[in-house]
Amino acid sequence: MKLELTVNDTPHVAEIEPRTLLVHYLRDVLGLTGTKIGCDTSSCGTCTVLVDGESVKSCTVFAAQVNGAALTTIEGLAGDDGLNRVQQAFHDNHALQCGYCTAGMVMAAVSLLEEQPDPTEADVRGGLEGNLCRCTGYHNIVKAVLSCGRAAER
């Protein structure tokens, strides 16, 4: 089937098998391997991307389901002026170790901050529940996300 969508501001048209998962389309067809696969039960969140601004686990949807949508992956987050603020906060707070969960974690955090610009620690912990990290113990991830909140800016 024919798929048309925009990924990181670049339009793509592709002929795909209908059973192609979005994460496979991104990784195998577009070569955007920054989005990871960490499970086969929609449990880990390493595959999180933004679809029309909303965070979506890209292993849980077929590429066909996002036909026409605008996607952002981890590769599309930084601008010409460097890392975006969430990426920067992850760096500044040592919120990544092996980095395998990082893309999904950052995308989920971007979406969380979009919905809750001023989250509490409980909001952050609850909001990131679907993203697993085995390295950081979450302490610094939570710190990083909180540092992006309005409260931290004041």
Binding site: Q88, G99, T102, A103
Partner: protein, 808 residues
């Protein structure tokens, strides 16, 4: 780059050892550019899928691959019998329970006539795409003759079913260390108090977020060589072992571990899929790649823990421990992987914990079961040991109605700076245990917590507050070859590093370490900047590729900084020594008159005539005619470093929990960890390591269980069933530290990769038991799930209906 990264103060871009430093590894990861094994594009690669045994114990009658072979896109289908000719040797055991004889079965990358656990490979499909390979896998029909399965180590001991006919028993070994048997017996006979407990170390899944992935690529230039990409913690050792078992000459094999998404010991292996991809690439003359599904990972990766622990303490009337006696039953799983039989043994000498125990006896029996092999998982033997002794010490405190902090204080080994011979085997390097306990109590607000607890109990609340302490000492810095050999090591580990000054004054470091999240690129550059006085940004650190890096054996056991990092420090000293000879020659001064500060040599008292080491590097490379007679051109050095002793990090963790009597739910409300890893190179990374370790230990205590049914079928191979804690289940942590430098290496560092995972599980369970003590609860098995806790409460109530009124 942020301003926090490089302090502007010094103006030369120098960073110092001990300075908090953010990581240079981060940016490519944060941009999604860092490539992990399955991200590496390999043109023309075939995809391998592995058919795994669906039975825990069965003979293979036949395998019908006909339909799979004709499935679209399939290039080849192989069974174990088809591939029997590919293997030239068996994967060896690298730590054995010397001097006890080890009975170990034969095994290969793929089963031939029998399967011994669910998940064991029985056939492989190679196809043009991953989906085609997966489709074809379903068309393979295996006819099994199902045998009764052995799923508990106790059952294994009975030899009711013997798994490996050629061994005649399920017992792999019995390893015994008894320090003066009479004194142990006498201590128990004379004891004012005794404690006897049984603990279960449930099987855990290491569950790194990146599963394993492999790609074997025949040398595109011809020549018969191969490049193997693997998500491994041990590129060099993997190359050696693949050479020995698959028969590709070691020098013809290049192993690259790209970015590796966590390991925690699970990637310290030579796994079947590595052997298979390499053998199939050789056979098919095309690249062959494989990536593990998560649910496959639950059965195809090693498991951690898996022990039954019987521990007894004897104590005098003051609460001074007079003897520790331990019987350990190790569940090795279906066969021995690299370190399988050694894991219980590594923990053996730590069952007396950080306590001055005069009499000690431990017997370890390990058995085979029809479950996946167990092996190194964060802490490998020490978390288990710490759990048993720390639970037992709390049991003693309860017995004596003494504060658990006080009982520990009374028994700590007194402070020592340079060697302490414990009752069992290896001498500890340095230790000062009480200050870590004091700091943890202070940070936790211990007095206040006990008050709150008393108030809560008095109020009759059904939400019980519990405080749990665990003090630990563990062993890291795996290397000292003589001690390794004495402890059953069948291989040596050492640290390697090369420092090469380039003619422009920049530096390339190659190291034997294989980081997978630990930030070695940052830390190693930090060491070099500090030691050589060169800008941090001018130091490039290369690793994890056997074609580039010196042989570094493996990264595990918190050994990187204290062995590989120390090797780098030694190499820097060599570079300085050579540069000093050159500087003295050029300055026409005696070497003894020179001093070296912030990267420059000058004659003492005349700082104006200074020669920067970067300039000397240029001279040594391109003005080699100026070198003193006999000096080799270029400023570089190399070290293979074998330290004199292990290192022994220690600390105290305190958990505060709230347990709901009505639901059995445990909420971890506070966690304090005070760890002493010797001198800290980079506190940012130290804290990160501790945080991660804590959640793994907390996970074991409260959530994680690799569950199996009675037939050996996995009940929790996926992340939907196996509960890796999320951010919502854990709190933020309060960390502290003490610093007791290690005499075992020039950096004075001990290692911190595992500490968090070692103190946390016993602290949490001690807290849960402490919370429920008024209900008569004396033990809760891991994981302390609501159901388990609730049942434990009901059982305690049934046993002692009036317990609640009796108080603590």
């Amino acid at each position: 780059m942020t301003t926090t990264e490089i302090p502007a103060a010094d103006g030369k871009g120098l960073v110092k050892i001990g300075q908090p430093l953010l990581r240079r590894e981060d940016e490519p990861i944060l941009r999604g550019e860092a490539r992990f094994t399955d991200d590496v594009p390999i043109p023309g690669a075939l995809y391998m899928e592995v058919l795994r045994s669906s039975h825990a114990h069965a003979r293979i009658r036949s395998i019908d691959t006909d339909a799979a072979r004709t499935s679209p896109g399939v290039v080849a289908v192989y069974t174990g019998a088809d591939l029997a000719g590919e293997w030239v040797g068996q994967i060896p055991v690298l730590i054995a329970p010397d001097p006890a004889p080890l009975l170990a079965p034969r095994w290969g990358p793929i089963a031939t006539d029998k399967v011994n656990y669910v998940g064991e490979p029985v056939a492989v499909v190679v196809a043009e795409t991953r989906a085609r390979a997966a489709d074809a896998l379903e068309a393979i029909v295996v006819d099994y003759d199902v045998l009764p399965a052995v799923v508990s180590p106790e059952d294994a001991c009975t030899d009711r079913v013997v798994i490996h006919d050629e061994l005649g028993t399920n017992k792999a070994y019995t390893w015994e260390v008894v320090i003066t048997p009479e004194s142990v017996d006498a201590a128990f006979a004379d004891a004012a108090y005794t404690v006897k407990q049984r603990h279960i170390q449930q099987r855990c899944l290491p569950a790194p977020m990146e599963t394993r992935a492999v790609c074997a690529v025949p040398d595109p230039m011809g020549g018969g060589g191969f490049t193997l990409y693997s998500s491994t913690q041990m590129a060099h050792l993997l190359r050696t072992l693949l050479a020995m078992t698959v028969g590709v000459p070691e020098q013809k094999l290049r192993v690259i571990a790209p970015n590796v998404g966590g390991g925690f010991g699970s990637k310290l292996q030579t796994y079947p899929e590595e052997s298979l991809c390499l053998a199939l690439a050789r056979r098919l003359k095309r690249p062959v790649r494989w990536v593990e599904d998560r649910s496959e990972c639950g059965v195809a990766m090693i498991h951690g823990r898996g022990q039954v622990q019987d521990i007894e303490l004897a104590a005098d009337s003051d609460g001074k421990i007079t003897a520790v006696r331990v019987h350990l039953l190790g569940d090795l799983g279906a066969h021995c992987k690299l370190f399988t039989p050694g894991i219980p043994v590594i923990g053996g000498p730590f069952y007396h914990g950080c306590y001055d125990v005069p009499a000690f006896a431990i017997t370890i029996t390990s058995v085979y079961t029809n479950l996946p092999p167990t092996d190194a998982y964060r802490g490998a033997g020490r978390p288990e040991a710490t759990y048993a002794i720390e639970r037992a010490v709390d049991g003693l405190a309860a017995e004596m109605n003494m504060d658990p902090a006080e009982i520990r204080r009374r028994n700590f080994i007194p402070p020592f700076e340079n060697g302490h011979q414990t009752v069992c085997m290896v001498p500890f390097d340095s230790g000062n245990y009480e200050p870590a306990l004091d700091q943890a109590l202070e940070l936790a607000g211990y007095e206040q917590l006990r008050k709150e607890q008393a108030d809560r109990r008095a109020s009759g609340s059904t939400k019980h507050l519990g405080v749990g302490i665990a003090s630990y000492v563990e062993v890291c810095g795996y290397a000292p070859s003589r001690m390794m050999a004495a402890g059953g090591g069948k291989f040596s580990l050492w640290g390697t590093s090369v420092v090469r000054f380039l003619p422009t004054g920049k530096i390339v470091v190659t190291t034997g370490s294989h980081p997978h999240g630990q930030g070695h690129e940052t830390s190693w550059a930090q060491i070099v900047s500090d030691r050589l006085g060169v800008p941090y940004e001018d130091v490039e650190v290369l690793h994890s590729d056997t074609a580039i890096a010196p042989y570094g054996v493996l990264t595990g056991g918190s050994r990187s900084l204290s062995v590989e990092g120390a090797a780098l420090s030694v190499t820097c000293d060599k570079v300085i020594a050579k540069a000093k000879t050159l500087a003295a020659h050029l300055l026409e001064a005696a070497e003894g008159d020179l001093e070296f500060n912030d990267g420059s040599f000058n004659v003492k008292g005349t700082p104006s005539r200074a020669l920067p080491i970067t300039g000397l590097a240029h001279t040594a490379a391109f003005d080699a005619h100026l070198l003193p007679e006999g000096m080799e051109p270029n400023l570089s050095a190399e070290t293979t470093w074998d330290p004199p002793n292990f290192t022994f990090p220690f600390g105290t963790h305190i958990a505060v929990v709230e347990v709901d009597e009505e639901t059995g739910a445990v909420a971890l409300v506070k966690f304090v960890a005070v760890d002493d890893c010797g001198n800290q190179l980079n506190p940012v990374i130290v804290e990160g390591q501790v945080h991660g370790g804590l959640v793994q230990g907390i996970g074991q205590a409260l959530f994680e269980l690799a569950a199996y049914d009675d037939d050996g079928n996995p009940l929790s191979p996926t992340l939907a069933d196996y509960l890796v804690p999320s951010a919502a289940e854990v709190p933020s942590f309060t960390l502290g530290s003490t610093v007791t430098p290690s005499p075992s290496n020039p950096l004075g560092t001990k290692g911190v990769g595992e500490s968090g995972a070692i103190g946390s599980a016993p602290a949490v369970i001690n807290a849960v038991v402490d919370a429920l003590a008024p209900l008569g609860v004396t033990n809760v098995i891991m994981p302390a799930s609501p159901m388990t806790v609730w049942r434990t409460i009901q059982a305690a109530r049934a046993a002692a209906p009036n317990a609640k009124e009796n108080g603590r």
